[in-house]
Amino acid sequence: MKEPVNEYRLEMSGISKSFGVVSVLKDVNIKVKHGEIHALLGENGAGKSTLIKILSGVHQKDSGKVVLDGAEINPKNTHEGQVLGINVVYQELSLVKDLSVAENIYLHKLGASKFWMNWKELTKNAQELLDSLGFKIDATATVRDLSIVQKQVVEIAKAISEDTKVLVLDEPTTVFDPTDIKKLFNNLLKLKEKGISIIYISHHLDEIFKIADTITVLRDGIDTGSVPVSKTDKDSVIHLMIGRELKDLYPVRDLKIGEEPIFEVKNLAGKDCIVHDVSFSVKAGEVVGIAGLGGSGRTETAKLIFGADKKKSGTIFLEGEEIKINSPVDAAGYQIGFVSEDRKEEGVFLPLSIRRNISVTSFGSISSKLGFINIDSEYKKVLGLIEKLNIKTPSSEVNVKNLSGGNQQKVALAKWLSIDSKVIFIDEPTRGVDVGAKIEIYKLINEVAKKGVGVVVISSDMPEIMGISDRILVMHEGTFYGELQKDQFSEENILRYSIGEPLK
């Protein structure tokens, strides 16, 4: 490796940015060395993604300076950023669904390339790249047909397909299970060895302490300085982020769980998916966790139950009586709720305001017989939830697409957690949510359970699922391989069941 001329590969200094009257970044500084993994942390809405987008050319800064390898740069668009060697995996998936995996990976090259497609070479290179990452994805598949995990992998492959100087990953692991995360980290370490500078954004502090060299914390658009990972610990980072100590991340589960199952599924199987022989029950007030590896069928199980996908067989009981669910409408009619893991496509209404998003599931309580909405009640309810979930926004009328990722997730949750349900399925409840807000969400889940609701939480986040569940079901290849009681909770046990092995 050639000895670098400048100490820092990248220096961003005095960066400020406002959207209209909202000031998002104020005089932010960050410096990244060659071959460094630099963690960028902060609460939801602190300005992390915005800073990255300025670096890559999506947004233009209002003031400040960006220096790459000693030369000032000003990318006007992401293409210019790419040419300069800045590649980003954005927080929101942005793939072209009607093209193949291979084309997506090399999309930026297609734009610049000659006349004819070289399908053979394109596919070969893409497949080699994907294989080298250790994920099993067919490069000729159409992106539309991939799972969300696979899509995320394609995003990562896309970013490293080019020779890159600075690689930015904005919350790349929110849909990953522990094995996927391990694979990703191995890849990042390889890139680091090659001297590539990596900026890594995540709300999983464990990850950060595993992989990062340096940490920069943003708070309300102001940077609080950078520290080497070795010189700090989790608690002080949290303190920097939210300005206070965090005692217990997971609320104490001291509530009474009902005797009888409120909800029961027997021998469920899906028509066009891997789910088969799924049986389980949830008691009133119980929080049941579903763990498993990516692609094991957790999401599909929830969707089957909710009526979003077609069942092949299976019976469902609610409060002891058999019910038929053929569509989400039926499910909602039985007061069953479902929060999707894919908030952009299935969770929120991006072009609509926060108020209109949240109200969608709860018109019953705020409207008259003829469907006229009591706007005062609506505001009251929505403002209450914004406050309770600490959604960072200037008003309830802001369109959800202008919220930060974590705040969008809170909106998706608010929609379901605010109404009276009997059972609720939450798929990856805290995707992209900061530690502070996670607590609020866990509290809310707890409160909901306290009301006698049966809660089913699907999560790839090990500490999370162990922290909030009363019982964990572990999925393996489309069916539950085993069940863990509270005293059996451990990462090892979950992983063993996940890969289809008995406990030691």
């Binding site: 999707s340 969770g347 109200s359 006229f372 706007i375 403002l383």
Partner: protein, 322 residues
């Protein structure tokens, strides 16, 4: 923290937002002023009342088109429906008492719209194809039932409707009042009624709506049925204005209606659009035709100028919303 509507309006950025949201209103006012300046007869009450009468029919179907477009669909059948339903109304008005004739016509409109709605919502047909098929079918039926000739109103009920359609109340043509009432109901519905909220939600993210337990199919079905009922209302109005129902009515009106909705800033992808802006779109299109007629622009160049003004108006709108 969150502001109420009033607070939002009173802040400077609130006014800006208001301007952006209703910029079509300003384009319309601009065109209005311009028209008044270049033609001395434009701003006479007779002409303004003519203008209102001329746009009411298309205006009413544009509102139906708006709610269909809000769900992300499209209804190409409305023009032909106007023809078929005008014929239907003319037949009925000569057969049964007026209120019944009106009722049955609107019911038939609702029923025909339901067919499109059924095909789109429950058979998952592309709205363009389903309503195109219905467009052909409705026009064909119109010709069949009328035997190709206009059917004239012959009864007292017909006479009553014809008087109603050509007279004014408080200076505003009655049929324009009907149109305005429909606009106001739609405005209220889209803002304050669950139905309106849900169709906007469906148009902005159908999958999320489905997973929110919204009866997506039911609402998609309903908007086409309502569009059909509004086409019936428009048909009654245009038939009454000419005293007859002809299978040639409403030719290509679907295009005008879509244009009005889109000029009113709605997105054909759904989820975006307001009744007031659609009203403006309707008035802008009507005004362009009217002023060119008043200025005696010959027909061939008139089409060219009309296209030019549409482009100009929409560019202006873009400029304002920047």
């Amino acid at each position: 923290m969150a502001l109420t509507l009033k607070e939002q309006l009173s802040s400077p950025s609130g006014i800006l937002k208001f301007l952006v949201k209703y910029n079509t209103v300003f384009i319309f006012i601009l065109l209005l002023i311009f028209s008044a300046l270049i033609s001395d007869v434009f701003f006479t009450s007779v002409n303004l009342s003519n203008l209102l009468k001329q746009v009411s029919g298309i205006g009413i179907i544009s509102i139906g088109m708006l709610i269909v477009i809000l769900t992300g669909g499209i209804d190409l059948s409305v023009g032909s429906m106007v023809a078929l339903l005008a014929v239907t109304f003319a037949i009925l008005v000569n057969l049964v008492v007026l209120p019944l004739a009106i009722l049955i016509t609107i019911a038939i409109g609702f029923g025909l719209g339901s067919i499109s709605g059924y095909l789109v919502a429950y058979q998952k047909m592309a709205p363009f194809v389903a309503t195109l098929a219905l467009m052909t079918i409705a026009r064909g039926l119109g010709f069949i039932y009328s035997k190709g000739s206009p059917i004239t109103f012959k009864t007292y009920g017909g006479l009553y409707m014809s008087n109603f359609a050509n007279n004014s109340t408080l200076g505003i043509p009655n049929i324009a009042l009907v149109f305005f009432i429909i606009v106001i109901i739609t405005m209220v519905m889209l803002r304050y009624n669950v139905f309106g909220r849900l169709i906007i939600a469906i148009g902005s993210n159908e999958e999320a709506s489905r997973l929110s337990g919204i009866k997506v199919n039911k609402y998609k079905f309903l908007v086409y049925a309502i569009s059909g009922a509004l086409a019936a209302t428009a048909a009654i109005i245009v038939a009454s204005r000419t005293n007859l129902g002809s299978p040639n009515m409403g030719m290509a009106w679907e295009l005008d209606a879509i244009a009005a909705v889109v000029i009113g800033g709605a997105s054909l992808n759904g989820g975006k659009g307001t009744a007031i802006n659609t009203l403006m779109g309707v008035l802008i299109l009507g005004l362009i035709g009217n002023i060119l007629n008043l200025l005696n622009v010959p027909s061939y160049p008139q089409q060219v100028v009309k296209g030019g003004i549409i482009i100009f108006a929409v560019l202006l709108q873009r400029f304002e919303s920047k």
